[in-house]
């Protein structure tokens, strides 16, 4: 029998960024303190060992008042500068406005470079993330200042590419997330759905970029946005087709199911990103499968019918079982939601009257509530 997924709070703590590690460390020390008191009361630990054991867990560094005030002052200064510029924007010459926009970007990127030089990765990451968004804004403002007509989609793609370049140059997870988000936004902007003119979808490439970096840099945020971009890109690509049939959706569902199975097999404490991929791909597989049932199904004009709904129910139930087996709460929750949706779809197909529908929905609600209660109990037990 395959062992359940290991829990790895300590391992995550080691690789976590400083702020995250700080909060985890505080929570960990508090928990140890509470457990120690319990073990001492139960006679499992000698009372005189309490201080020595607690001393092995380092105290969290606390933000002193002067530093906190400095941060508040810096933020307020920034707001004051932005307000001053906004108030005088009309009075500034176009060239001055352009210089301001370029200067803001150069300042953020320069701060990122300085922080990288001084080996301050967190500050560098923050500055480069900000630089990525400032550059996206700079493209829009340059178009506004000089009334350059262009395609908003192209501007977002260019901003995404610049953010990707900044991310790779400075190993910035934030800029990489910004890059994927900007390209996803570009794909959505000015799109003509279900027509020849819809154009290419780049979110899938952005997603591949995101999940590749997420794996290399062990970044949860990138793993989320990269995997989400894959699902989103797949959905947009199919929605861009002139006449999307069930075939493409079933093919996508199988691809995502294979991705979920692979991610599940690769999950290990050293590669926690696969746990995130597992969730998104499982969700994507069910989404595409559910969607397929509402499109012409291999020649039949009225969708998948009862066969599709039964397969949907089985897949949802299977995912719930898998989620329970893997002790993966989110996967279980996705399975429960999918099951409710499948039952609702079946009801809609059968055209049951309101009383019968109310009864079935009540049953679904009870299943969901009981599943939630069981999940909560299992979490509390763990």
């Amino acid at each position: 029998m395959r062992p359940p997924f290991p829990r790895f709070k300590r391992e995550r703590l080691r690789g976590a960024p400083p702020f995250r590690a700080l909060s985890l460390r505080m929570a960990y020390k508090d928990k140890i303190e509470r457990d120690l008191d319990r073990w001492i009361a139960a006679g499992l630990v000698e009372p005189d060992k309490r201080s020595a054991i607690l001393a092995t867990v380092p105290d969290a560094r606390r933000l002193d008042a002067a530093t906190a005030l400095a941060w508040v002052g810096a933020v307020l200064l920034g707001v004051a500068v932005i307000s001053f510029i906004a108030a005088n924007w009309d009075g500034l010459a176009r060239i001055a406005r352009f210089a301001l926009v370029l200067g803001a970007f150069a300042a953020c990127a320069g701060l990122g470079a300085w922080a990288a030089w001084k080996a301050r990765p967190m500050l560098s990451n923050m500055a480069l993330t900000l630089a990525a968004f400032v550059f996206a804004a700079a493209i829009g403002l340059t178009g506004q200042i000089f009334d350059i007509a262009g395609e908003p989609r192209m501007a977002l793609y260019m901003a995404g590419l610049a953010a990707a370049a900044l991310a790779l140059a400075g190993r910035s997870t934030g800029a990489a997330c910004a890059s994927v988000a900007l390209i996803m936004l570009g794909d959505f902007t000015d799109r003509q759905w279900f027509s020849h003119g819809a154009g290419l979808v780049f979110s899938i490439y952005a997603g591949l970029f995101g999940i590749n970096l997420a794996y290399r840099w062990n970044s949860s945020a990138l793993a989320h946005i990269g995997a989400a971009a894959m699902v989103y890109g797949g959905a947009l690509t199919i929605a861009s087709l002139d006449d999307p049939g069930a075939g493409w959706l079933l093919f996508s569902a199988i691809l995502f199911a294979a991705g979920a199975a692979y991610s599940r097999s690769r999950f290990a404490p050293q590669t926690p990103v696969f746990r995130i991929f597992y969730v998104w791909y499982a969700w994507g597989a069910l989404l595409f499968f559910a969607w397929a049932g509402y499109l012409p199904w291999f020649g039949a004009e009225d969708g998948g019918g009862v066969l599709h709904r039964i397969l949907w129910l089985i897949a949802s139930g299977g995912l719930i079982a898998l989620g329970r087996f893997d002790r993966h709460l989110v996967v279980t929750a996705i399975g429960v939601l999918s099951l409710i949706a499948a039952i609702s779809a079946m009801l809609s197909d059968l055209g049951l009257d309101l009383m019968a529908s109310a009864g079935v929905f009540l049953l679904c609600a009870l299943i969901a509530l009981i599943a939630g209660f069981v999940l909560k109990r299992s979490k509390a037990d763990a």
């Binding site: 009309d90 370029l102 970007f105 150069a106 900044l166 140059a169």
Partner: protein
């Protein structure tokens, strides 16, 4: 392998150079293009979050009973609502300004319809001649990727007031000044309101 801070500075410099290059290239294309005046109409409401600008809605009335250009339909082709339509328009002189003479799928076909061609789309609405309302005019709406002119708030409000007050029986007092580049793209150069030209410059 370059150090991270050097790589960041190189990428930042390339980004800045790309933006400056874009402005210079667009400026040169605008300066080198052929200038035409196109009629405008007022549009409400203005976006409050998009800065102060005048919405450039290219719209020209056609005389009562006059036919639409043969190549224009009553709606713009699919995809024409994007900022740069794929079809081509032919423009022909009409007094001080230019009017749409026709639309075609290719540049070569558009050149047969008028002396100046530009990437864009247009639609014409010509009502049936109504004896009860013989003055009922049709109109042509045009999309050439030029949709707004950013300007100081006071100027934007003044131009909007002029646009609203313009009498359709007279020549429109506000025109969009558009530069048509060799690449067939339209670039806004400024607006002409009551004979005064508000041009896009570095100031």
């Amino acid at each position: 392998m370059l150090k991270p801070h050097v790589r960041i500075l190189i990428v930042a410099a390339l980004c800045v150079a790309a933006l400056i290059g874009l402005v210079v290239r667009e400026g040169m294309a605008r300066a080198g293009g052929q200038e035409v005046l196109l009629a405008m109409q007022p549009v409400d409401p203005r976006s409050l979050l998009g800065g102060h600008y005048v919405i450039v809605s290219l719209h020209e009335d056609i005389p009562p009973g006059a036919p639409c250009p043969a190549t224009l339909g009553q709606s713009t082709p699919a995809g024409a609502s994007s900022s740069l339509p794929r079809t081509w328009l032919a423009l022909a002189p009409n007094g001080r300004h230019h009017s749409v003479a026709g639309m075609a799928q290719t540049r070569a076909d558009a050149e047969k319809l008028g002396p100046i061609v530009v990437r864009g789309a247009a639609a014409c609405f010509a009502p049936e001649l109504d004896p009860a309302d013989p003055q009922r005019a049709g109109f042509i709406t045009t999309i050439i990727g030029v949709d707004r002119f950013h300007i100081a708030q006071a100027e934007a409000l003044r131009i909007e007031r002029l646009l609203r007050d313009q009498n359709t029986a007279d020549a429109p007092p506000v025109f969009a000044i558009v530069s048509i580049g060799k690449d067939g793209r339209a670039r806004l150069s400024g607006l002409e309101a009551e004979g005064e030209r508000l041009m896009l410059d570095w100031r």
